[in-house]
């Protein structure tokens, strides 16, 4: 049997998932990474994207927006600002997120413009990836 680790996904409003996982694919700010048991302790920020969890009971995936992931000896915990299971996500949810991101990109001050534009692009990539 493959080794497993504890995986937690929490959003500010509630805990979405707490289970054993064999690997977790995280959309990190500097690129995707996959965490498996005994990964080196890491903290990374998230970009909007799809988080995929593989466990003995199957695969689950969630659309997440900003936040961060903490990987340590005990397991992986992802603190996402907003997280929705991809099965439950609707086109309206994504459109609302994109609209907010667009708003932020349009109104952002010069020094934040790049970050806001990147956020918007990530959101749009997320929509394409989800194909809703």
């Amino acid at each position: 049997m493959a080794q497993t680790m504890q995986f937690d996904l929490v959003s500010p409003e509630r805990a979405l998932a707490s289970l054993q996982a064999t690997s977790v694919q995280i959309p990190g700010a500097d690129g995707d990474m996959t965490a498996m048991p005994d990964h080196a302790p890491t903290i990374t920020t998230l970009r909007p994207g799809v988080l995929t969890v593989e466990g003995p009971d199957g695969t689950a995936s969630y659309a997440v927006t900003g936040g961060f992931a903490e990987i340590n000896a005990e397991g992986t915990s992802v603190l996402a600002e907003k997280a929705i299971a991809t099965a439950d996500i609707t086109a309206e949810d994504i459109d609302a997120l994109i609209a907010t991101a667009k708003d932020a990109a349009d109104t952002a001050a010069a020094e934040n413009k790049d970050a806001a534009a990147k956020n918007l692009a990530d959101m749009e990539a997320l929509r394409a990836a989800l194909n809703v």
């Binding site: 937690d8 929490v10 959003s11 500010p12 409003e13 509630r14 805990a15 990190g28 700010a29 500097d30 990474m33 080196a40 302790p41 890491t42 903290i43 990374t44 920020t45 900003g66 936040g67 961060f68 903490e70 340590n72 000896a73 915990s77 603190l79 600002e81 907003k82 001050a109």
Partner: protein, 291 residues
Amino acid sequence: MPSLKDLKNRIESVKNTRKITKAMQMVAAAKLRRAQDAAESARPYTERFNAVLGGLAASVGGSDSAPKLLSGTGSDQTHLLVVMTAERGLCGGFNSNIAKLARAKAEDLIAAGKTVKILTVGKKGRDAIKRDLGEHFIGHVDLTEVKRIGYENAQDIARDLLARFDNGEFDVATIFYAKFQNVVTQIPTAQQIIPAAFDAAEDEGATTLYDYEPSEEAILADLLPRGVATQIFAALLENGASEQGARMSAMDNATRNAGEMIDKLTIEFNRSRQAVITNELIEIISGAEAL
């Protein structure tokens, strides 16, 4: 001496009041459970978040490049007080306790020669604060329409605060809310959120050495603004639970008082009725004797 009819009306009206307060108490109890659940489920996020942020802050905090949200602007001349209260009354001393704490703090700061600005969340606090400290009042966040506090509400408030901070409108921000202890005790609390203050990081001896991706500074810069929203969200939820708890115990008291009043009035009513009967009897007897 009130007439029998007056007393009867009085008793009826107090009975109606008791029905209303009883209903309010039960509604508050149901809402309290929901508010407590919400606060409960938000806790893991807040705790983890603060642990990570605290660790980062401890390692980056000392350097000169530390973000302003952590190290402050270098002065503490202008204070922003964010006073969070309920949108509704009839919850005992809940609103006035928070307002009182905020007012005391504001007076201290003014006496020390600082500039004070006040932002209110919740209608009741605004009304109380405006009366005495109207000239320091700079804004109000209206949550009247919000049925269930969501993270978005906290984010909106945080965004407003951060924009004001970036414009240099204040140096230090403190939030005022009531911490929920239990149904009868809510503790008005002041908590400084900008610059971020952390409880002395617990020394666990073997703190894990993390790889940071991107850099520690970049993560910290990304997380600090989120931290403001997280703290505001936690405070809003605490406040929500406290409000319902306070209302529940206030309405419980009111119901009990109404019951006592009804008993008292009923005794008075029975006495007057008996007095009337006795009077009539005396009249009849003395009438009969006179014949």
